[in-house]
Amino acid sequence: MLNENKDIDQLFREKLGDFEKTPPSFLWTNIQVRLDEKQNGLRFTMVKTVGIAAAILLAFLAGWWITNPTDKGTIPQNSVAIQNKIIPVADTLSKKTTEAVERLSVNANPVAPVHSINTQKVDKTSSSNLSTLATFAANTSFINKINDKAEPKTSELELFNSEKEFLSKLQSKFKLAKKLTDWITTSKNDSTTNIGSNLKSLNINPFNNTSTGETISMAYNNPVKNTSGRWSLKAEIAPIFNGQPQNNRQGSSLFSGSQNYLSQKTQSSNTVSAGMMAGYKVGKHLVVKSGLVYNKIRQTTSHVNLMGANPTSNIPGYAMSASTPSGQVVLTRKGNSSMDDAMNFSNLSGISTSYSANGELNQNIEFIEIPLQATYKLISQKVNVGLTGGISTNILVGNSANLSENGTGIGSGETASMRHIVYSGAIGIEVGYEITNRIVFTVEPRLKRYINSLSSNKSVNFKPSQMEVVTGLSYSFN
């Protein structure tokens, strides 16, 4: 009898030492998801950082251009540098000229009409930026010379002669200044059609009037900016017609063998995208754009086959999983259902689908898209037409799945192994109508295709295509 007895240690060692039990099927799905997360973790962190930085930069640029529209389309004061002359501040010149004329008006009543005309001219031109060029015409040395001559003299006749001389010289200078301003205006207009030219400096001598005998050199710090709305901001919204998934693709190799026997069918639903885009005109025909756009993919799977849906373990909180073209869907049971586990059938081929006929699975996958697009304008009239192409970084912001039976929700969860960052390409034809000079209404049919699979599971190749009709309202600045 003693030989047949065992102590408590032995009892447990023998019974439990090699104890085995099959774990729940959803565990493997969870393990795959976490493995993918660990593998993609570092890459995602880096891409996310770059994405956020790009978004902040875009927002900053948009804000800057919105709040500083006055800088655009004007020539910076320091962009015109006069060489070979000592010119103090233009305002000083203007003041000196005005003072000189005023002195003359005090001392020379007979020429008051002439003087008043010239004074008017001085005042008028000094009110604009271009007045700096006009007043420049009356340069310091000249004015000083005139001032000396305009000093009170004992003889009124002498004074009158000197006034006459001054005024005639002043008139010639105004002519010179007018030519100069005309040239500037012309060159500005020309620059709108020659944006790409790298004109840094230009030596000119636009004056036939050789009274000054000097060449003026104009140095451009910056090319003159285009005045016709280089920056634009566009609000857009689009219905999305999602391409239908291929139902023979499945989400996981673990369950792939059990998916070919029932009429489970997945269909895509139409959704909507919306966003804001900033555009920058880099040439007469070319506009580059970027921004932030919300985008959604929605899929509905009818007659869904479930793993872990055994009615005997019909307990809220239990996990279930389903295989769809976009990958494994992991669900937590919310309530009772009559649906059975697809794995419970030993011979699945030819079996009725009635047990899962009422199950419907909805998957929502949401992205924030950061596009980089280029539009080449073929026609730039009141109605303009352009070709658009670009690539986008899509950041996953929403991933949810809901299971219902006869319209009653019985489970919720998410699609497993979704990539946090995916890339897509798009092409389209943009047709715009200019409502005003600044506001353009656009319609753009666009084809979009995801470049890499939305799932990181190697068994899943889910690269959906989308057809969008993007409707937008664009506002140009400056």
Binding site: E4, D18, S459
Partner: protein
């Protein structure tokens, strides 16, 4: 039967199919290990999940010296131990008790299922369950257990003794075992 060496090598390169094959092959055994170290199936599932992730992340470090199953088992045990160390900071008062070694009749043993014993072992306080598993089933010494659990050897012995007493009482209560012989031993 799987080609274990080839499967391990593929797993090391991140092959998802190989990982699936390996999981299917070992999941039941490792789940059995995890169940013994846990208070219920939910905790065991967590440990199995964490353990397998660790296996796949470290599988490239396996040098084919010794049993792969033993290597995996150690990872599962270590996973359970880490969780125990994280969640159990209070140390029991060290004491030395005398364990009355009750021997169990062979014919009675056959009527007890593994699930019954698993239920009893899962009801043990966490520290006793750990020490009993490590000593009685895995075969670790008290010195090794003390190191693994960050306790001293005396505590390990005391915990083992208490675990045995509780288990013995429960087995007798539930299965009505006869006390054939009583031998007194110090653990």
């Amino acid at each position: 039967m799987i080609n274990l060496e080839e499967t391990i090598q593929k797993c090391a390169s991140g092959d998802r199919k190989a990982q699936t094959t390996l999981y299917i092959h070992f999941a039941s055994k490792m789940y059995g290990v995890c169940l013994r170290y846990s208070k219920d199936s939910a905790e065991a599932e967590d440990n199995l999940q964490d353990g397998f992730i660790r296996v796949f992340l470290k599988i490239d470090q396996f040098r084919f010296k010794g049993s792969f199953e033993g290597w995996m088992r150690r990872i599962m045990v270590n996973t359970a131990l880490e969780k125990f160390r994280k969640n159990n900071h209070l140390f029991a008062v060290e004491d030395m008790v005398v364990y009355e070694n009750v021997q169990v009749a062979e014919e009675t043993i056959s009527s007890i299922s593994a699930d019954d014993l698993l239920k009893i072992i899962q009801e043990l306080p966490p520290r006793y369950r750990m020490v009993f598993n490590l000593y009685a089933i895995e075969g670790y010494s008290h010195q090794e257990i003390a190191k693994l659990m960050n306790i001293n050897e005396g505590t390990s012995k005391s915990n083992l003794s208490r675990a045995r007493t509780i288990l013995q009482k429960k087995v007798i209560d539930e299965f009505g075992l006869e006390k054939n012989t009583v031998t007194t031993t110090l653990c």
